[in-house]
């Protein structure tokens, strides 16, 4: 709200139209549409349906204004009591007029009719009613209201406890709750974007426009966000005169000027919903909510992260209801909303309007209704006197003015029929009316100022909270800051715009602010009318005044307790129209002042934001980024089944025609490798180039074993610990030159290890001459394994390359030439236990390498194998991997304790010596074989001594990795078992309560296959 009506509202109603005839219908269904005026386009009629009934409106309407124009009062049923409800406001604070928009997959519940733009073909339905809005069976809840009071869940549905999940909760959920969400995936696209500016202006009412013009004129990069479809704020509903012209004309000129400034961007249909650290603001742009279906490639909504050096928040204020019996009847409307419907939308909410106010501003409604040709049946002012500037009007027109309060509202599902007024002397009288305009004063919109835990401050003169400490860089101004006079708003906005721009380094020369009058605003607060009947505080959550006093009686006096006990302010409107009234009633009940009672914490989002907008592009297959191995497309073309390993998509196995089961494919791949040759893309392993004169020293410190002693042309298995002595990662690292090592890590730990190495290099030992670079993506690396590997490689490599055991011994590493002219790195390392090499070529040759390995290996029956076969072979060979390197195991637990060098220091050495980490009864890696050879072993199963009852005291460990070994023709596993290495041969109980399995197994050496390592050295 800002400024008084001094002349005409924004609509183009001329004096001629002020005749009573203006209230007549304009034809069609719009019985309550004025003949002229309003910011609607009468040349653009739009058809829509509400609950299946066809109606029309005009471009420029909201769904709410179109319903008002069509004389519709009943639009919803309330949350708990299913009370008939109408339209209360004309803005985003609307608590009552919530509807289901659209149908099918696009169905969207709880849409505020007051913010939904009308479009041709719009389909809306009322919600939370059965079988119809007029005859709602669940309205019986209203009769049962004594049991639905605050805290009713806790009191009524306590026993028996088992009834809660099956009976009580489903019953309550069916009975309460609002609309139903769509049951199919949302077919629309949403996206997210960033924007940057010097000055962010929130709200484009007179204050915001004044700030934007000031900052924009002196060159600051300005973004203006406005939740409405049009600029102007309260000027759209209340008009006024600025710089000697109609407010509407001033707004149009301001908009034209802002559009012409290249450094200013105006974003309409955009709500600011959050304030985050570092000057980051969240905003939601409703790009295509005003069309039936977004155009091809268009988005429905866009979530903005705006990074601003300064912000000027001119978010305006919200008119406050008064709590009295019947204040929720359809047709009871905020006075400012009545004026907005009349002036902006040329729609008359009632032909016989009663007004109930406790402040001067409410009186403006009289003029608006009369100019539109409506009748003001009574003005009820709780203060007992007519404001000075209205005294002549009252006298001249014979306006009926009563001193007192509205103590009841007569009417039914079709809305208000009359109001009961109780005078200061206690005398009651009934006055006929079909609409009741209510003004309880104005609450500055302090929400955004409080998102960093700022607490608002109370001002007695306006009976409202104003912003306290704002987040860094933010300034609240205008009505949002408690300044209601139009002239003052324009001046303050201008000053705030200049000051924000100056803070960003721009010159101060912004000219002067636009001018307008500074009328006063007087209020005597009235929160609640004491009378019998249901008086609502929170309309969306059906919290009444008696719920608040009940909460107090039951000991919930703190506003935070009040909120949780009654759910006051916890609906989707976050109590925009109810919080202050609720705490004022609590203050009165407890005999404290309002500031003593305090407010609850304000949290984002300011207004509801669809989850889809937060997700943006990141849904379905785009949920997160993915990584493809260099031979991915080759593998896909061969029908490989892929598995997500971290972000990577890895070939899990390659089914062949006739194979019906993954185990068949995997077993074939293992058997082929063990008896012939196979290859697997292992490019996903982390690869790090470690270079520099001190590279060897560096590696000595990060690995538990020595690397400075490694000869050029050799590879070595390495294990690194965390600072706390627990194993971090393992891999083979080769020395390719005196000052160049090539490290590999596990797939899962590639990122963390790189981070760790950079930390060591930059922070721990900056004196070392070491340079690191990730080479993971540079190389396509394949493991080639099986007894016929050498033959395959001889076909692939230049004949001059000596691949014999002498020419290329186990753990050798060097560059080789391949037939066809390219070079590769060859490493003789084995994970499978077979004679094996790993070969790397630049990633661009990944596909070609896979194809050429198939050609070169064809005579030997080569197969590609996936991660499952890889895993089977490493378990058969007793190699540890992720399930054993699980962040709880030490080197010794893994059977690798002897690798810990005693000749040098390394990360984790001291901490690994801690008593508990060196205790003899730790769980260590062992092999596990079920006694029944046909029994499927499962990981996660517990290891319990034979004959013992499973429990925490008898739990001796668990199975970590399992596989079906086609080589040994039975299921095998690795496990972590207390004192495991001393227990080879012991029969234990394998207990798996999750799968209801209980059987016996033998603990054995983890190396099931070729324990002497003959095959890999052959």
């Amino acid at each position: 709200m800002s400024g008084y009506i001094e002349s005409q509202p924004l609509g183009r109603t001329s004096a001629k139209d002020d005749a009573a005839g203006n209230t007549q219908a304009t034809g069609g269904t719009q019985s309550h549409r004025l003949r002229a005026g309003g910011l609607i386009d009468r040349q653009a009629p739009l058809g829509f349906t509400f609950d299946g009934k066809a109606m029309t409106g005009y471009a420029g309407d909201t769904l709410a204004s179109a319903l008002v124009a069509n004389g519709v009062k009943l639009v919803a049923r309330s949350f708990k009591y299913h009370r008939p409800r109408g339209i209360m406001t004309a803005g985003s604070e609307e608590p009552s007029a919530l509807v289901e928009m659209r149908t099918g997959a696009r169905r969207e519940p709880n849409t505020r009719a007051t913010t939904q733009e009308l479009y041709d073909g719009l389909v809306a339905n009322s919600q939370n009613r059965w079988p119809s809005l007029r005859r709602d069976f669940m309205a019986v809840n209203s009769l049962l209201s004594p049991i639905f009071v605050a805290g009713f869940y806790y009191k009524t549905f306590m026993w028996p406890a088992k009834f809660w999940e099956k009976i009580y909760e489903p019953m309550i959920r069916r009975a309460a709750g609002l609309g139903k969400s769509a049951e199919q995936p949302d077919p629309d696209h949403y996206d997210k974007a960033w924007a940057h500016c010097d000055v962010l202006v929130v709200g484009a009412g007179p204050t915001g426009l004044s700030a934007a013009l000031a900052a924009g004129r002196i060159g600051a990069r300005v973004i203006v966000v406005e939740e409405d479809t049009q600029l102007g704020g309260r000027l759209l509903g209340d008009g006024g005169e600025i710089d000697g012209m109609q407010a509407g004309e001033w707004v149009r000129r301001a908009e034209t000027e802002l559009e012409a400034l290249p450094n200013v961007r105006v974003m309409k249909r955009t709500s600011l919903f959050g304030v985050y650290d570092g000057g980051t603001y969240g905003a939601l742009e409703r790009v295509n909510d005003h069309v039936p279906v977004p155009g091809p490639h268009q988005v429905r909504q866009r979530l903005w992260r705006i990074i601003a050096r300064r912000s000027v928040v001119a978010a305006g204020s919200i008119e406050r209801p008064i709590v009295f019996p019947g204040n929720d009847r359809p047709g009871v409307m905020m006075a400012s909303a009545v004026r907005t419907y009349v002036n902006r939308f040329a729609a008359l909410p009632g032909r016989q309007v009663a007004l109930f106010t406790n402040n001067d501003d409410g009186w403006r409604t009289v003029e608006a209704i009369r100019r539109a040709g409506g009748e003001v049946s009574v003005v009820v002012d709780s203060r007992g006197q007519v404001p000075v500037e209205y005294q002549s009007v009252v006298k001249a027109s014979g306006l009926r003015v009563l001193s007192g309060c509205v103590s009841d509202v007569k009417g039914g599902v079709d809305g208000v029929r009359g109001v009961v007024v109780t005078g200061a002397d206690g005398r009651r009288q009934e006055v006929a009316a079909d609409c009741l305009a209510v003004s309880g004063g104005w609450n500055p919109n302090v929400g955004l100022s409080c998102f960093h835990r700022g607490r608002p401050a109370w001002r007695d003169d306006i009976a409202a909270f104003v912003p306290g400490d704002c987040p860094p860089g933010m300034r609240m101004v205008g009505a949002a800051e408690g300044t209601f006079a139009l002239g003052e708003c324009l001046r303050d906005g201008h000053a705030a715009g200049v000051s924000a721009a100056v803070d960003c380094g721009f010159a101060e020369d912004a000219g002067s602010a636009a001018e307008a009058g500074d009328e006063g605003y007087a209020i005597s607060p009235l929160w609640q009318v004491q009378a019998k009947g249901k008086a609502f505080v929170d309309f969306q959550h059906d919290v009444t005044a008696s719920d608040v006093t009940l909460a107090q009686r039951e000991g919930y006096e703190s506003v935070e307790h009040l909120k949780r006990y009654t759910t006051l302010g916890m609906a989707t409107d976050q109590g925009k129209t109810s919080n202050i009234n609720g705490l004022a009633i609590m203050a009165a009940t407890t005999g404290r002042s309002i500031p003593e009672t305090g407010t609850t914490i304000y949290r984002s989002p300011y207004s509801p934001v669809a989850i889809g907008a937060f997700a943006g592009h990141n849904r379905d297959e785009n949920f997160h980024a993915w990584r493809l191995a260099p031979s991915h497309h080759w593998a896909a073309a061969r029908g490989a089944v892929f598995v997500d390993v971290g972000l990577w998509k890895r070939a899990q196995w390659y089914p062949q025609p006739g194979e019906t089961d993954w185990l068949q494919s995997v077993s074939r791949e293992v058997t082929t490798v063990r008896n012939g040759v196979g290859f697997c893309d292992v490019s996903t392993l982390g690869k790090v180039d470690v270079r520099g004169a001190d590279a060897g020293t560096f590696l000595d410190r990060v690995y538990i074993n020595a690397f400075s002693s490694l000869a050029v042309g050799k590879a070595r298995y390495g294990l690194m610990l965390r600072e706390d002595g627990i194993v971090m990662d393992d891999g083979t690292t080769s020395r390719l030159a005196e000052d160049h090592y090539f490290m590999t890590t596990t797939t899962a730990k590639a990122g963390p290890v790189m981070q760790h190495l950079e930390f060591c290099r930059q922070v721990l030992w900056p004196e070392l001459d070491v340079q690191l670079s990730s080479a993971t993506d540079q190389w396509a690396q394949f493991s080639i394994a099986g007894p016929r590997t050498r033959e395959l490689l001889q076909a692939l490599c230049d004949p001059a390359e000596d691949l014999s055991n002498e020419g290329f011994p186990f753990m050798g590493a060097r560059e080789v030439k391949l037939r066809g002219g390219i070079k590769a790195r060859l490493f003789r390392i084995s994970f499978s236990g077979e004679m094996a090499f790993e070969i790397s070529v630049p990633a661009r040759f990944g596909n070609a390498m896979a194809e050429n390995l198939m050609i070169a290996g064809k005579p030997f029956g080569v197969v590609p194998y996936g991660t499952e076969a890889l895993s089977v072979m490493r378990i058969e060979k007793g190699h540890v991997a992720g399930p054993e390197l699980n962040g709880t195991t030490t080197a010794d637990d893994l059977g690798l304790g002897k690798m810990m060098s005693k000749k040098k220091d390394f990360i984790g050495r001291i901490m690994a010596g801690r008593e508990a980490l060196a205790a003899p009864d730790r769980q260590v890696v062992v092999g596990i074989k079920p006694l029944d050879r046909h029994r499927r072993l499962r990981s996660g199963a517990h290891v319990v001594p034979k004959g013992e009852k499973p429990g925490p005291d008898t739990d001796h460990g668990y199975v970590t990795s399992v596989c079906f070994s086609p080589t040994l023709n039975q299921w095998l596993g690795l496990g972590l078992v207390t004192r495991g290495r001393e227990r080879f041969g012991e029969i234990v109980r394998i207990y798996d309560p999750l799968r209801s399995e209980d059987y016996e197994a033998e603990i054995c050496s983890p190396v099931f296959y070729d324990p002497e390592g003959v095959r890999q050295r052959g």
């Binding site: 960033w194 490639h297 980024a625 497309h633 670079s773 993506d777 540079q778 040759f845 070609a848 050609i855």
Partner: protein, 203 residues
């Protein structure tokens, strides 16, 4: 057995479909994959940053940037990638450039050949900045990110390098994005999807 053929492949072989996509008839965004690049990460040995810069100047005719930025020479761009290190971007050519670089920096800087480790995507067009606002948190305003600006930033939570070159014909800005090869398929999808609204021409 005869020789094998070693056909090189782009990480965008599936994702990038050349042609015009998305809304409208006049593409607002142009996406081009720059193939066959030479990309070398040059990391000065300890205490040798100045010497490495001198060698770069001799080799490429330009000083490497000492702060985030890109410097352009004849057919080469040097892009800052961290303290005392930079990236060399040049056409792959006959492969002799890599040898010359290796010889010149021997003992002075460590080199890491990343020619296959990154995929280079060029973005231009009248609506490019609008599309990029969807996946980059950077302020791309002319005053903040002018020609020669460079940054290491994230795209869909993934590290990338970006730098701005001299504007393309028609005076629309031109940006280069170097993304990790294994992420290229995924990130290209993000970039293309972000551009469809404005019309997209890809090549």
């Amino acid at each position: 057995m005869g020789d094998f053929s070693w056909t090189s492949q782009s990480p965008l072989q599936k994702a990038l479909v050349p042609g015009v996509h998305g809304a409208g008839s006049v593409p607002g965004v142009e996406l081009t994959e720059i193939r066959n690049i030479l990309l070398v990460q040059v990391m000065a040995r300890r205490g040798n940053a100045a010497a490495a810069a001198r060698i770069a100047k001799k080799l490429f005719g330009i000083e490497p940037p000492s702060r985030p930025g890109a410097v352009f020479g004849k057919g080469v761009a040097l892009v800052w990638s961290g303290p005392d290190q930079f990236l060399v971007f040049a056409p792959q050519g006959d492969g002799s450039l890599m040898e010359r670089i290796a010889d010149a920096f021997a003992g002075i800087a460590s080199l890491s050949d990343q020619s296959d480790g990154r995929c280079l995507i060029r973005i231009s067009g009248a609506r490019a900045a609008q599309a990029m606002a969807k996946f980059l948190s950077l302020d791309l305003d002319d005053g903040v990110f002018p020609v020669g600006a460079a940054a290491t930033t994230s795209l869909d939570h993934t590290a990338i390098n970006i730098w701005r070159e001299a504007d393309a014909a028609g005076e629309t800005p031109l940006y280069n994005l170097a993304v990790f090869t294994s992420f290229a398929d995924s990130l290209y999808r993000v970039i293309a999807d972000s551009s469809l609204e404005y019309g997209l021409r890809s090549s």
